[in-house]
């Protein structure tokens, strides 16, 4: 009987997709659920992450912070007792699976756990790079304006959930939530849309409920949440 040798690499669109698939296998074996957080510079990704972890209270969690430079966000998270690790890309505008794989070697992750990864601040480059995540959350802040889905469609199209941050600023800026929602819906009919502000901690409960359900779908019995 003839042996068929299948080169698995051929079925991946890129080297990154291959590495991301390897990460997914590793995370699955460890019982780690991974959420990839995307948003522009200053959208409030770190503040959102803190509110989300407080509302979700996973049994164990780790954070990877992506930035061009500095460890400002990692320092903030560590001061709060969160187990956070910094990737500095120098000038690269996205994280990739190789960078995530690289830092995992230093992290000694023990599952079951949640791993939240805050990507590099922009709405463009991170879209194309799978970093082994189970879910992708796009954060878009009120002062950025309600036209972002129209100007940066791909990131909203690939979102598992969309979170509008800094809603306490709505009285002071031009932000048309209907226009924003219409833009998201035209690209992505199914992603839930949440609104949060750091001034109202209860607002994080619906996002945490959504993420808890996603985690339990992936790991019905391992007790991350």
């Amino acid at each position: 009987m003839a042996t068929t040798i299948v080169d698995m690499k051929d079925s991946f669109a890129s080297e990154n997709d291959l590495l991301a698939a390897k990460l997914k296998v590793q995370f699955r074996e460890q019982g780690v659920f991974v959420v990839n957080i995307l948003g522009t510079a200053g959208a409030g990704k770190t503040t959102f992450l803190i509110g989300l972890l407080e509302a979700l209270r996973p049994r164990k969690s780790y954070v990877i912070e992506g930035d061009i430079a500095s460890s400002i966000d990692t320092d903030i998270l560590r001061r709060l007792g969160i187990d956070a690790y910094q990737i500095n890309t120098g000038g690269t505008c996205h994280l990739n699976a190789a960078m995530v794989g690289g830092i995992l070697g230093r992290m000694r992750i023990e599952g079951p756990a949640l791993l939240a990864i805050e990507n590099i601040g922009n709405l463009i480059c991170p879209v194309e790079y799978d970093i082994g995540e189970n879910a992708r959350v796009v954060v878009s802040s009120v002062p950025e304006g309600s036209d972002k889905p129209y100007k940066y469609p791909a990131v909203f199209q690939t979102a598992g959930a969309v979170v509008v941050t800094k809603t306490d600023l709505i009285p002071y800026v031009d932000f048309d939530l209907d226009f924003f929602t219409k833009g998201v819906r035209s690209l992505n009919p199914s992603a839930p849309l949440f609104q949060v502000t750091k001034k109202e901690r209860n607002g994080y409960t619906p996002v945490a409920d959504w993420l808890r359900a996603r985690i339990q779908e992936s790991y019905p019995t391992n007790g991350i949440v």
Copy 2:
């Protein structure tokens, strides 16, 4: 006597630098001063541009709007009577000299004139791409937070001027102007730092004065401003 043939291409770091140098020659011959406006998504680049043109009142001006998708900003500018043209990059996170050269063919620019180019919304990719500009202005909004120079150093390092926008939001957010200024100064000791809000049109006068001086340095007699 021997003829020395110099391959000029060797002295340019990249194809883009070569094309940018050609644009600079073309702009110089036409008497066109070019300002390249950088900032993250939602920083208020278009609003800044409108305020700047109103305060500067150049004899003639053109605008190129860079976006991944949509013509929202170009439509806004045209409704104000500004001669604006849209580049959509699809997914590319910066403009380059080839894109600018391409659209110039459709614009029929007549100098002396100011050409303002609003780059793609992010603080990372546009840094590396000379698009033939005389001056680069970096726009950073108050709600983004005061840590941006520390997280995205290169864009502040290469700025000709830095403009803090949306200063009317200072009472409602955490923004430490001293920390921001210290970050900019550590990277760029000479770039002037301006503060503007669309609610106070007078705030644009110092930026317009700065740009007028730069234009008159480049073109002492052609009367753009």
